[in-house]
């Protein structure tokens, strides 16, 4: 990967190897595959959306960073 940025490489990749890798789970949500990170209280944060439907990427509910309740997941 070539980084073309005004921010130095060391700053961008600080703690890249040290950070703890959160457990990511792949699940179905609203008929689409999402990669989520578990939070407390049976909630999940969407990390990534895996879909071939372009429209799914415009759905705010499927946006990375949105929080979903555990019982909504299948």
């Amino acid at each position: 990967m070539i980084l073309y940025s005004i921010v130095p490489f060391e700053v961008v990749f600080k703690d890249y190897y040290e950070r703890d890798h959160q457990s990511k789970i792949e699940m179905d949500y609203l008929g689409e595959k999402v990669v989520v990170v578990p939070l407390s209280n049976n909630r999940y944060k969407i990390e990534r959306l895996i879909s071939t439907s372009p429209k799914a990427y415009l759905n705010p509910k499927l946006m990375p960073g949105s929080i979903i309740q555990g019982d909504e997941l299948s």
């Binding site: 990967m1 070539i2 980084l3 073309y4 940025s5 005004i6 921010v7 490489f9 961008v12 990749f13 600080k14 703690d15 890249y16 950070r19 990534r48 959306l49 879909s51 372009p54 429209k55 799914a56 990427y57 415009l58 705010p60 946006m63 990375p64």
Partner: protein
């Protein structure tokens, strides 16, 4: 329009109120062309904000704010395909990022058929430059800056002339794209890229809003109002073109 069909992204899809319909032309259209679908509002625009680092092949550590290309690219496809969206407003405030990801987004925007306008606020540095010029018309806020500098080398470097050759070619991709999509010449862009004495610890140039316009990189200095006005103008042009085509086709069929 059903609520679930309305394509919105956060609160960023702007719907403008309808302008009064000219009933006569509407009726004429139906009588003459058998067509009743005339859109009368100014058009729906979609706003795509690109902030922080452009995240490409590697997931960046969490202290970085990133725009993920794997989300932006399908969004651009959806915008191009959506019947409800008439134009795209690209707002940029980025420090750069992955070359391949940035160029991918820029190429996608440059090859869209819908009207696109970009607005650079704060900064549009490094790979943000090709992204800014990719739209049909670009604006920059007078206080915004764009840093143009050579691609940097990181990771293992083999001390052979081929390394230089390789980087020169990687750089050429950016130079070519920018020269093709803006009014700046390749030579001028390369000159700005290799200028010394401007940046504290790097080769390159910082361009302020009006300087970027002077060099032909950006079309105009302005703000949100100007960008929206231009986008609606482009949407209007596009519509007229489409209507003209439909009219010609219909009259051909009649003959």
């Amino acid at each position: 329009m059903r609520e679930e069909d309305r394509v919105t992204f956060g609160n960023t899809s702007v719907t403008t109120p309808d302008v009064p319909i000219d009933n006569n032309t509407n009726l004429d259209e139906i009588k003459e062309l058998g067509k009743a679908s005339i859109k009368t509002n100014k058009g729906n625009i979609h706003c795509l904000t690109v902030i922080g680092q452009i995240e490409g092949h590697m997931v960046l550590p969490p202290q970085n704010k990133t725009t993920k290309y794997e989300h932006v690219i399908p969004q651009l496809v959806a915008i191009e395909e959506s019947e409800e969206i008439d134009g795209l407003l690209l707002i940029l405030n980025t420090v750069g990022g992955d070359v391949e990801a940035g160029l991918a987004i820029a190429e996608m925007i440059a090859s869209m058929s819908k009207p696109t306008v970009s607005l650079v606020l704060g900064g549009g540095h490094s790979i943000g430059v090709p992204m800014a010029v990719a739209t049909r018309y670009c604006f920059i806020a007078p206080s915004a800056t764009m840093t143009i500098h050579p691609i940097r080398l990181n990771g293992m470097v083999i001390g052979v002339p081929q390394t230089y050759e390789y980087f020169d070619r990687m750089q050429e991709r950016v130079v070519q794209f920018v020269a093709k999509n803006s009014k700046i010449s390749k030579d001028n862009f390369r000159k700005l890229m290799l200028k010394t004495g401007e940046l504290a610890n790097d080769v390159g140039t910082v361009l302020f809003g009006d300087e970027a316009v002077k060099h032909g990189l950006i079309d105009e200095t302005g703000g949100l109002r100007d960008a929206l006005k231009k986008l609606y103008e482009l949407i209007e042009e596009e519509r007229k073109k489409k209507e003209g085509n439909a009219h010609n086709k219909a009259s051909e069929e009649l003959q």
